[in-house]
């Protein structure tokens, strides 16, 4: 958690517009598809939560999509988060993992809501607006 905290602090400019209370959930450890199911046993997850002071990293439990209050869900393959942290530029590695499919993003709100909640810079940095086979 401390490592991710320093990553978030090192990239604070990407989160400067994020509204207090907005969050991203990272639920690793399962094949992505399994995480989509509505009911499942809780698994540990990380939460990147916007506090008044900035982004903070918390531990939480993932219980399925229906009970997830986060704006975005990251579903990394086994070891993908560790690989990102081991990389000199963790955010760049996250972006690479998104592009090559080792990490799946699921957006839990509409584009308008995500924009209003301040995620545009972060999404832009990850290249999400330019993802997809036709882009």
């Amino acid at each position: 958690m401390a490592s991710w905290q320093s990553v978030l602090e090192g990239n604070a400019d990407l989160f400067s517009e994020v509204q207090v209370g907005a969050s991203i959930a990272l639920a690793p450890g399962s094949p992505p598809r399994a995480n989509v199911k509505q009911a499942r046993d809780p698994v540990p997850m990380l939460l990147w939560l916007r506090d008044p002071a900035g982004m903070s990293v918390r531990s939480a439990e993932y219980r399925g999509l229906k009970s997830l209050a986060s704006d975005v869900l990251f579903l990394p393959e086994e070891g993908a988060l560790e690989a990102a942290l081991a990389h000199g530029e963790p955010m760049s590695e996250l972006k690479r993992e998104l592009r090559d499919g080792r990490m799946l993003v699921m957006v839990m709100r509409s584009r308008k809501e995500l924009r209003e909640r301040g995620w545009s810079d972060f999404f832009e940095a990850l290249g999400l607006p330019f993802q997809g086979t036709c882009r």
Binding site: P32, V36, S92, G101, V107, R111, G127, T133, C134, R135
Partner: protein, 657 residues
């Protein structure tokens, strides 16, 4: 009628075909590759679209597929901002016109029905899916699950739309079951997590598609029915269908008696590019080959990243598929098929895979094409190439894309054109760009080859190794009526005048053109298109490269479809990138830069390359103003931009001068 020379060279492609009870003059199918966004917000076809479809009808393809119409009045199937609708008879008159255009051209007319499912509901704020599986891309709408009643209603809407298309005069219909659209989302185990008879096994997941095919076939037994299916979703690592499952679904469709399967690749949200310039032509052919093997009694159409008619002819000759399905190359050059038939392939304007078309559509804009400035403007007489009322003697300064596009367009209209070029060949800065491009340089070089061929065929005189300046102008000015300044842009080296060590700076365009040799440790100032291409190329050759960008992000002047490619290449190549960073000074062996807070960093560098800011080469405008009757400009000489603006402005000026 005897075969034209190119038809004899490409005998398989120009062989007559048959789909259902309809004869097609050749084995080329115009694919409805993407919607145009030329229509009204409520689904009516516009005069702009009709003018465009008239050009499509005249492409010479044996089968023409009209772009996808959404079939439901709610608009749940509507995925594009100005997509056409076919849920009511009120839309029929324009469809009748399009069907007539296609028949007048001698082709089989197919109407595509496109219910976008997961990517639909653009006006609604939600989309419909087999199950509630959140979007993986933020620009699509949140999902709602379809009930069995919804499925039945949706099938009915497809049948009604299909009947309407036939009433309008189309010969057959096509439905989309690919790219993540509605049927594809039922077929895929990524999005279909239902536990009823429409979910679970491949058999169950394909049920909706089979029921829909059956319903349309029963309603229109005499008319060809085509389904577009993924040979690969490219979603399998996220739990989507494997290729084996994709082909099992293809067998299901064939078993239902579809007349043709159009094989495609990828979902819109797949993490892999399928049709961009960095995908080699022919890369996905194996999927078509397998489709033909698995469904030998069903016609297979295919064309994903297969832009070359020669290659397509060979594939058909080997029995790999039955119809070459082509769209984007015909956006770039609507005369491609005719040029192939007439053995004039050297004149073709190739699709360069920039995906300008799609990147505009995905931003709710009408599609356009880098290579075809008239695309989407067919309804406007101002874009037509018509004989010039007054034939003029025209001098063009600069043989880059803007100058050459102008020169060839003006020459087609009867003007007498001479191009004055400082260098020794056609291409301008595009040559340097192509030489360092990590995508597919051959595509960019094809632009240069096109202009070389056309200049020769149209009698455009090329005067190389000639510097256009006032002295030169005075010696020739009485020979010309018009001067067009297409002298491009340069890196503004004067912007560095106040910096210590500026004499060590080299110009990125000189590096790109091979006029300057670089060292092993390089700093590139400006993360713009020019800077990126040079940085990537030098890094690939082994240099240590640091990119210094004053702005928040690199690649801000790059077209969206290539923005992510550049940022990926920069990361993959390990190019150190410093954004929000400015130059402080250049020392004999390093560059000193400062971040937004003023903290300085010293970067060792034996070569320092300036790639920005860019400045238009506009000086000739002032110098020539009183020397010639008409003085015009186009391309980067007006304002530095890029290939798209250069070609489009050159064309527009050439079409009206």
């Amino acid at each position: 009628m005897s075969a034209r020379p190119g038809e004899q060279k490409l005998p398989h492609l120009f062989r007559p075909g048959r789909v259902g009870r309809y004869d097609a003059p050749n084995l080329i199918k115009y694919g409805a590759c993407c919607v145009s966004n030329y229509n009204t917000r409520d689904g009516y076809i516009t005069p702009r679209e009709l003018a465009r479809t008239r050009v499509i009808a005249g492409t010479g393809c044996g089968i023409i597929t009209n772009q996808g119409a959404y079939p439901d009045p709610k608009g749940e199937g509507k995925s594009y901002f100005r997509q056409v609708a076919l849920y009511d008879d009120k839309f029929l008159p324009q469809f009748e016109t399009i069907a007539r255009y296609i028949h007048d051209a001698g082709a089989v007319a197919i109407q595509q029905i496109l219910h976008a499912g997961r990517y639909g509901g653009i006006d609604l704020g939600y989309c419909v899916q087999p199950s509630v599986v959140p979007q993986t891309l933020p620009h699509f709408r949140p999902p709602r699950e379809m009930s069995k009643d919804d499925i039945r209603r949706c099938i009915g809407e497809h049948v009604d739309a299909a009947k309407r298309a036939i009433r309008a005069g189309f010969d057959g219909v096509e439905v989309t079951s690919f790219m993540g659209y509605l049927l594809a989302s039922f077929n895929s185990k990524f999005t279909n997590q239902r536990s009823d008879e429409y979910g679970g096994s491949v058999e169950n997941r394909g049920r909706f598609m089979r029921e829909l095919i059956d319903a349309v076939k029963q309603a229109l037994p005499e008319h060809p029915f085509i389904v577009r299916l993924n040979g690969a979703e490219l979603m399998d690592q996220w739990g989507g269908n494997t290729e084996d499952e994709c082909f099992e679904l293809m067998r299901q469709a064939a078993g239902c008696g579809v007349d043709m399967i159009s094989v495609t690749v990828g979902w819109q949200e797949a993490p892999e590019s399928s049709i961009g310039r960095d995908v080699p032509p022919g890369y996905w052919n194996r999927l078509a080959i397998r489709a033909k093997e698995e469904c030998p009694n069903t016609l297979i159409a295919y064309g994903n990243r297969l832009p070359d008619p020669v290659m397509a002819n060979e594939c058909i000759g080997r029995g790999e598929f039955d119809y070459w399905e082509v769209c984007r190359p015909l956006l770039a050059d609507p005369d491609l098929v005719h040029k192939a038939a007439e053995d004039r392939l050297d004149e073709v304007r190739r699709c360069i895979g920039s995906l300008n078309c799609l990147s505009r559509v995905f931003r709710d804009l009408p599609y356009s094409c880098t290579m075809n400035p008239a695309l989407g403007h067919e309804v406007e007489p101002e874009y037509a190439i018509t004989p010039a009322a007054v034939k003029k003697k025209v001098m063009v300064i600069g043989a880059g894309p803007a100058g050459m596009e102008f020169a060839t367009t003006a020459a087609k209209r009867g003007h007498d054109v001479t191009v004055i070029e400082r260098g020794s060949r056609i291409g301008g800065n595009l040559l340097g760009y192509a030489a360092h491009d990590l995508g597919r340089p051959d595509d960019l070089n094809s632009v240069v080859r096109h202009y070389e061929v056309m200049a020769k065929k149209l009698g455009v005189r090329m005067q190389f190794n000639t510097e256009a300046n006032p002295k030169f102008m005075r010696s020739v000015l009485h020979r010309y009526d018009v001067c067009v300044v297409a002298s491009g842009a340069r890196v503004d080296m004067e912007a560095y005048a106040q910096f210590e060590g500026r004499e060590r700076l080299v110009d990125a365009l000189d590096v790109a053109a091979g006029r300057v040799k670089t060292g092993r440790s390089v700093v590139v100032l400006a993360g713009n298109k020019v800077g990126l291409v040079v940085a990537e190329s030098l890094r690939k050759q082994g240099a240590e490269v640091t990119l210094v960008e004053r702005g928040k992000r690199i690649a801000e002047d790059v077209m969206p479809t290539f923005k992510w490619r550049h940022t990926s290449w920069v990361e993959e190549l390990g190019i150190r990138t410093l954004t929000l960073t400015r130059l402080v000074r250049i020392t004999p062996d390093a560059v000193v830069v400062a971040d937004a807070k003023g903290a300085e960093t010293t970067i060792p560098a034996d070569t320092v390359i300036a790639a920005g800011p860019r400045r238009a080469n506009q000086e000739l405008f002032a110098e020539f103003e009183w020397m010639i009757d008409e003085l015009h400009g186009c391309g980067d000489a007006i304002m530095p931009r890029g290939l798209d603006a250069a070609i489009h402005e050159g064309y527009r000026l050439g079409a009206r001068i």
